[in-house]
Structures are given as structure tokens and as C-alpha cells.
Amino acid sequence: MNSDKITKIVLVSVSFLILLIAGGMVFSLVSGAIPSFKEFGFSFITSKEWNPTEGRENYSALPFIAGTLMTSVTALLIALPLSFATSLFLGEYYRNTKIATILGTMVDLLAGIPSIVYGLWGFYVLRPIMVDLGLGNQGFGVFTAGLILSIMIIPYATSLSNEIIAMVPNDLKEAAYSLGATRLEVTLSVTVPAARSGIFAGYILAFGRALGETMAVTMLIGNSNLIPDNLFSSGNTMASVIANQFGEADGLKLSSLIAIALLLFVITGIINGVGKYIIKKFD
């Protein structure tokens, strides 16, 4: 066999390893989750109770699915105007200026801050403010977690939409300017519509990030295993319940946590797939 063939085989087989890892992950999650699915069946995602009391064990993912959706949607709603404005600042109004470079670097740095540091800052800085405002359960709760999450996902939404906004052809904008449109009119009726699917994809990917964030949420959401009644009650997300309860888990409980991980894997996979698909179509 000649060396070219060996090289090709090495390349293929190493790449195949990636498929193997992903396949193995799905297999392990599914087989780990089976005892729980067998025991609870469909009620694993419909029943409202997460009860580890021995003899009356009942595990359901619904409270955590609700918590995950509530925190992530809150985060997305807060992040939307902020990251939209920032991407216009970087990609349109101050494109290629020194101030935009500085601002852009700062946004990138936001993405570099470890989740646990966000959690600490949220705990020691944001939470007392929430307490002063009389919101949440001692400042903990869905809203506090969503607020810190929004800061964490802004860089993801911003970097993509800023790039796409900056890519909108100048001809389009100039045509509108030549008709006497103001910059605002050009931005809202030409630039943003031309870049809309990229901007949309950015928000979807950011939403996917929010779904899986663990540490900062764990430190701020209040960790109760009930469906949150409102934005200011405490709860748990799918990721935070795994982090919280994993330590003492075995048997059926461990299997239920693995089942939650499987759900989380599937949901984030779908969300990211949709985001990537939109980007690809846009290219």
C-alpha cells in the first residue's frame, strides 16, 4: 500500500471518530434513560412532580422544561434590543471606526467570561438589587437567572448579526440614500430586511446557548423542583437540576437525570440545527 492511501485512510478514520463519539453519546444517553422512561412512560414529560422520597419516587422533567423555557425566553427578550442596537452600532453606524473595534472587543470578552464568574457576579451584585426591589424569592428566581443569561448570550447574537449587517451591499443602501432617505430609514427598510435571516439565525443560536447554560443559572434560579408560577418564583432548569442533584443520584433518579440530559441534547440539537440551516441558506 502506498503512503497516499494510508494518509487517506488515517484522515477518514480519525474523522469517523467524531461520528463515533456523537453516536456513542446518543447511545449512552438513550440506554441510560431507558429505566426512567420504562417506569414513567409518557408521564415523564407530562406529570408535574419531581419527588425523590423513597417509596413514592416520581420523576418528571416538566418543571425543568418549564424552567428552562422561561429563563431562556426571558434572556432572549432582554438580549434582543440590546444586541440589535449593538450590532447596528458595530456593523452600520460606526463600522470600521476605532470605537467600534473597542466595543467589539468588549463584546467578545463578554463571551470569554466563565459561566461561574457570571454566577458569582449575579449572586453578589444583581441579587441584592433584586432584593432591594422586592422581586423574587430573596432575589433568586427565574427573572434573575434570565437576566444574567441575557448578558451571557448577547455576544453570540451580536457577533453574527453584526457580521451580516456589515455585509449588506453598499449599492442597496446608496440607492435608498439617493432617494433622500435618512440613515434610520435606510437602516430599517433596507439594511435590516436584507440581513434579517442572519440576524434571526443569530438569535436562534443564542437561544440554544441559553438552554444549556448551567452554572450561572444554578446559582441564581433558587433551585426548587416545582413549575415556576411566575417570573419571580424560583425553579430549576434542565441543566441546573442535573448539576444540583447529580451528586446524590443513583438508580432511578440517575436514570431520570440522564433522561433530562437526553431531552436537553435533543432540544439544543434541533435549535442549533435550525440556526445553522438558516445561515447556510443565507450564504
Binding site: 480519525v14 440590546l82 449593538t86 467570561i113 464568574v117 434610520l184 448551567t214 445553522k276
Partner: protein, 295 residues
């Protein structure tokens, strides 16, 4: 000048210009709000963390709760430091890089060499999906694979594996993107000289794209250094400096989590986070710098 047009249009220009100004003001204000957390967080870490920084902080292991409590009670700085965390982070991130770099670069080369082919598209999509998997899920996976079946207990290896699965997709992507930018003629020139394929990869492609790949690797490292969740499920933590990859090991983010949960250690939280931030930011900025010098 007088209007010549016989039909008179209402003049909205003042209102339009006002709207324009208000919107610009809004964009600037919201952008300022967006980046304010980075300043607030870093200043908080510096103000609260610097006072614990000392020689001991870097070169001693964590104190136990009792030592910390007596020190706090007598108004002194908490003795000891985070050496076990520094060594653990070094060990696990190095091991993760050792696993992820060859895997990532080889797959990236494969994707580059097989543009548009079905298997390559599949690998690319799967790698993209892996990149989106929450880190806690990767921790759980590594627990099921390594902790349960290979090291039979919490271990640095399990931590490294979960971190390496996070790193691979980033390295794959940056490798492929970098190689795509290399002019084909360079590769063809080497092939025309009769250089074997593997030598073209090792001696031409990788050196030419080296700085781009390095950027991706450093960025991937900076992402995983701060990861806490997967390590909680895999490496667990340790109060001693440990270089044995099959044993439970601490890491800087794990120590932050421990200090957060122990009321006596609260004073150490900020300095440890500050150290972690500084390391992450250095990797981040160095990779940006390399990326910039390429252009």
C-alpha cells in the same frame, strides 16, 4: 430658494431628522448598556480579589474550613492558596488539548480535502451539533464512559475527556476555514514535485495555516478553562496537588464553586475568579492578536 413645484408636499424633514437623532441616541445608549457588564464584572473582581493575591496564593494548596474560619475570625487573610486548582487546570486542559488537537486538525484536513463529499458534509454537520451540546451533558457523558468504566472513580482523565469533546468541533472548524484560505497553487506546486500526500499536509498545509489553527486552538482552550459544570460531574475536586490522571483532581473553576458553597472561604472567591479571568483573557487576547497579525 422658492419652491417651483406647483403641488406642495408637506415638509416632514424636521421630524425625520429628529427621529434619526433619537434612534442613534438609542443605539448608542443600548450598546453602552450591553458592554457595561464587562467593566462592572472586571472591576468587581479586581477590587475584591487583589487583596488576597500573594505569594502563598499561587504556591500553596487550599486551606481547610477550620483554618479559614480562624483566620477570618482574627481578621487576617485566609492562609493557603489555590495551587491544587492551578495544577489541576493545567493537567486537565493539557490532557484535553492533547486529545483534541490531533483529532481536530486531522478531521479539519479531511473536511478540507473532501469539500462537497457526502461523508465530509455529515462529519461537518455532526461536529457542528457537538459544538452546541451543553457542557453539562458532556460531563454526564464522560461520567458514564470514563468514571464508570475506565477509571472507576472520579478522575482528571474524565474531566479532560469532557473538555476535549468541547474543544474538537472548534478546532475542526478553524482548521478547515484556515486551510480553505490557502491558495491551491501552493499545494499543487508541492504535489507537482512528487511530494507524497502526507508530506504535503505536514510540510505545506499545516505550516502555511499554522497561525490560523493556533488561533482556533487557543480560543478553544480559553473556552474550556473556565468550564465548571462538566468537571463537577467528572473530576470532582481535591485538596491536594495531583498529577495522577486517574485520580480526582481540582481545577480553578471547581475551587470557585467550592469557595462559593463554604461560608468560611468566601474571601477566596474573588481572588480565584480574578486569577481564572486573567488566564482566560490572556488566551483570548493572544489568539485575537495572532488572528489579527494574519490579516
Amino acid at each position: 430658494m422658492e419652491r417651483v413645484n406647483p403641488i406642495s408636499y408637506p415638509d416632514h424633514s424636521k421630524r425625520r431628522i429628529l427621529k434619526e437623532k433619537i434612534f442613534l441616541g438609542l443605539v448608542i445608549a443600548l450598546s453602552a448598556i450591553t458592554v457595561s457588564p464587562i467593566i462592572l464584572i472586571i472591576s468587581k473582581l479586581v477590587i475584591k480579589g487583589v487583596k488576597q493575591f500573594s505569594f502563598d496564593f499561587i504556591f500553596k494548596t487550599t486551606p481547610n474550613t477550620y483554618e479559614a474560619m480562624t483566620a477570618v475570625a482574627s481578621g487576617e487573610n485566609i492562609p493557603g492558596g489555590v495551587l491544587n486548582g492551578i495544577s489541576g487546570t493545567l493537567l486537565m486542559v493539557a490532557a484535553a488539548a492533547l486529545i483534541a488537537i490531533p483529532l481536530g486538525i486531522t478531521s479539519g484536513v479531511f473536511l478540507y480535502e473532501n469539500q462537497g463529499k457526502r461523508l465530509a458534509n455529515l462529519v461537518r454537520n455532526v461536529s457542528d451539533i457537538l459544538q452546541g451540546v451543553p457542557s453539562i451533558v458532556l460531563g454526564l457523558i464522560s461520567y458514564m464512559w470514563i468514571v464508570k468504566h475506565i477509571t472507576h472513580g472520579f478522575s482528571a482523565l474524565a474531566g479532560s475527556v469532557s473538555l476535549s469533546i468541547m474543544m474538537v468541533p472548534m478546532i475542526v472548524r478553524s482548521t478547515e476555514e484556515t486551510l480553505k484560505m490557502i491558495p491551491n497553487s501552493i499545494k499543487e506546486a508541492a504535489l507537482a514535485l512528487g511530494v507524497p500526500y502526507y508530506k504535503v499536509i505536514i510540510k505545506v498545509l499545516i505550516p502555511t495555516g499554522f497561525s490560523g489553527m493556533l488561533t482556533g486552538i487557543l480560543l478553544a482552550i480559553s473556552r474550556v478553562i473556565g468550564e465548571t459544570a462538566p468537571l463537577m460531574l467528572t473530576a470532582l475536586g481535591s485538596t491536594m496537588v495531583n498529577w495522577d490522571i486517574t485520580q480526582p483532581t481540582s481545577a480553578l473553576p471547581l475551587l470557585v464553586w467550592e469557595f462559593y458553597n463554604d461560608p468560611n472561604m468566601v474571601d477566596l472567591i474573588w481572588s480565584t475568579s480574578l486569577l481564572l479571568m486573567v488566564i482566560v483573557l490572556i488566551f483570548n487576547l493572544v489568539s485575537k492578536k495572532i488572528a489579527k497579525s494574519r490579516q
